[in-house]
């Protein structure tokens, strides 16, 4: 067995140090070492997107990245979406629209959707479907997920307008 490496990364805004073996994926490291079990293991081949996390703001499959590659990186997992136990607008819209059934794919969808909304506050349905194309869901048929993301975008925009008006 190769020896463990010390890795320092920023995960969900906190600086974290952890030990991992080079053969361990970022997903294994998050789940088994850091006990952040929100990111899910689906296919382990980069097809399903259940393990999607943001690395430097970009969505990647954490099953296809090594834990040691996280050194110095800024990583966001689904655990980083809520603030002090309060769900984000996007998460609430998934609940409102019943955009999940079994829930295994949901953390990955939330992360991909967050990445889209961070870049594009006014996405079209096509933009949403394109951004979520790397995430598979076998329950919902996708429509509710797409509606939830579009509604979240609208809600975040009107929040922004509200804040601007208050100033």
């Amino acid at each position: 067995m190769s020896k463990k490496t010390l890795v320092e990364a920023t995960i969900n805004g906190e600086t974290v140090e952890f030990l991992c073996e080079p053969r361990q994926s970022l997903l294994e490291t998050l789940r088994d070492v850091l006990e952040l079990t929100g990111s899910k293991e689906g296919c382990l081949t980069g097809d399903c997107g259940a393990c999607t996390v943001l690395v430097e703001g970009r969505p990647v499959c954490s099953c296809l990245m090594l834990g040691v590659e996280a050194q110095g990186k800024n990583i966001t997992t689904v655990e980083g979406l809520a603030t002090n136990g309060v769900l984000s607008v996007l998460q609430n819209k998934f609940l409102e629209h019943a955009a999940l059934q079994c829930g295994i794919c949901t953390p990955g969808f939330l992360i991909s959707a967050k990445s889209l909304l961070d870049r594009n506050p006014k996405p079209t349905e096509h933009d949403v479907r394109y951004a979520l194309a790397g995430n598979l869901c076998r329950c919902t048929g996708y429509d509710k997920i797409v509606k939830a993301v579009l509604d979240a975008a609208a809600a975040i925009r009107s929040q922004g307008e509200g804040k601007a008006a208050a100033r």
Partner: protein, 289 residues
């Protein structure tokens, strides 16, 4: 996955030194979207991964109207598809990079990695070949350059010797009145492995073809430069007869297999169809340049 060692050198010298020390037991590592899967499945074995993403020469993406494109081997596909310069000057290579996998994959996978993985079905490899791209390699005995069409030697195997590493892809500047295009056939809309892929680059002189290159994916053990298909249209007006001739010659350059994605017969047919279409697209683009 079996136990491995990992290094992330920051200079070419360090990378070559580590690769040389471990010889056949080491492999350069970039986006990991192929090799992590292969190591897990046991279809490739390596003791030592040398992460090349921190080496600045491998992250270069620069275009000069005279010298052409320098594309570092580790530049992720997303940087190519988001680049206006790439879209304008190399639309075929850009569309090939853009149709690899999901956004999650494009954020990690690189054109250099796509080439080094050595798959006959790699989408960006024919797109590089038609542009006349050369692969700049460094190793323990210095540097060398290899034309991309000679880089892959058999499925999963390349010209890279132990200790060597792909630094960058050098692509000539597009000639006036030229352009490129890439098309692939897959049984669904997106995100699959090519059943057939065809790239073309065309330079026009008035309404006649002055120069052309056509390259094929997934129809033989390696990506194929179909020189005779290009010869069939050089000096010709790109009418239906010329397109038919190029398509026939492209099919004749294939040695496809039957597999779960398609039969050999189907692949030969699709190669001709895509060759006609991709040449038309490249020529339309070339007219505007």
């Amino acid at each position: 996955m079996h136990a491995i060692n990992y290094d992330a050198p920051t200079t070419l010298d360090q990378a070559v030194s580590i690769l040389k020390t471990h010889g056949e037991n080491a492999r350069p590592f970039c986006g990991g979207t192929d090799i992590i899967i292969q190591l897990r499945a046991g279809v490739r074995r390596t003791e030592h991964l040398v992460d090349v993403k921190k080496i600045k020469e491998l992250q270069v993406l620069s275009f000069d109207a005279k010298k052409g494109l320098r594309l570092g081997a580790a530049v992720p596909c997303i940087e190519i598809s988001e680049s206006d310069v790439m879209r304008r000057h190399y639309p075929g290579l850009t569309e090939a990079a853009h149709l690899i996998g999901s956004l999650q994959i494009q954020n990690r996978a690189s054109v250099g990695g796509n080439l080094c993985n050595g798959s006959p079905a790699a989408d960006t490899t024919p797109a590089l070949i038609v542009l006349g791209a050369r692969a700049r390699i460094v190793g323990p005995n210095g540097e060398r350059e290899v034309p991309v069409e000679a880089f892959v030697v058999s499925p999963g195997r390349t010209v890279l010797k132990p200790g060597e590493l792909l630094v960058e892809l050098l692509v000539p500047a597009p000639a006036p009145h030229s352009s490129d295009a890439y098309l692939r056939f897959i049984p669904r809309n997106e995100m699959d492995i090519a059943v057939v892929g065809v790239g073309a680059a065309v330079t026009l002189d008035g309404d006649k073809v002055k120069a052309a290159r056509i390259a094929l994916a997934a129809v033989g053990p390696t990506p194929i430069l179909a020189s005779k298909a290009a010869d069939a249209i050089i000096g010709m007006k790109l009418d239906d007869a010329a397109l038919e001739a190029a398509g026939r010659a492209a099919s004749a350059a294939c040695s496809p297999i039957d597999d779960m994605r398609g039969t050999a017969e189907f692949r030969l047919h699709i190669t001709a169809v895509l060759t006609r279409r991709v040449l038309s697209i490249a020529a339309e683009r070339a007219k505007k340049n």
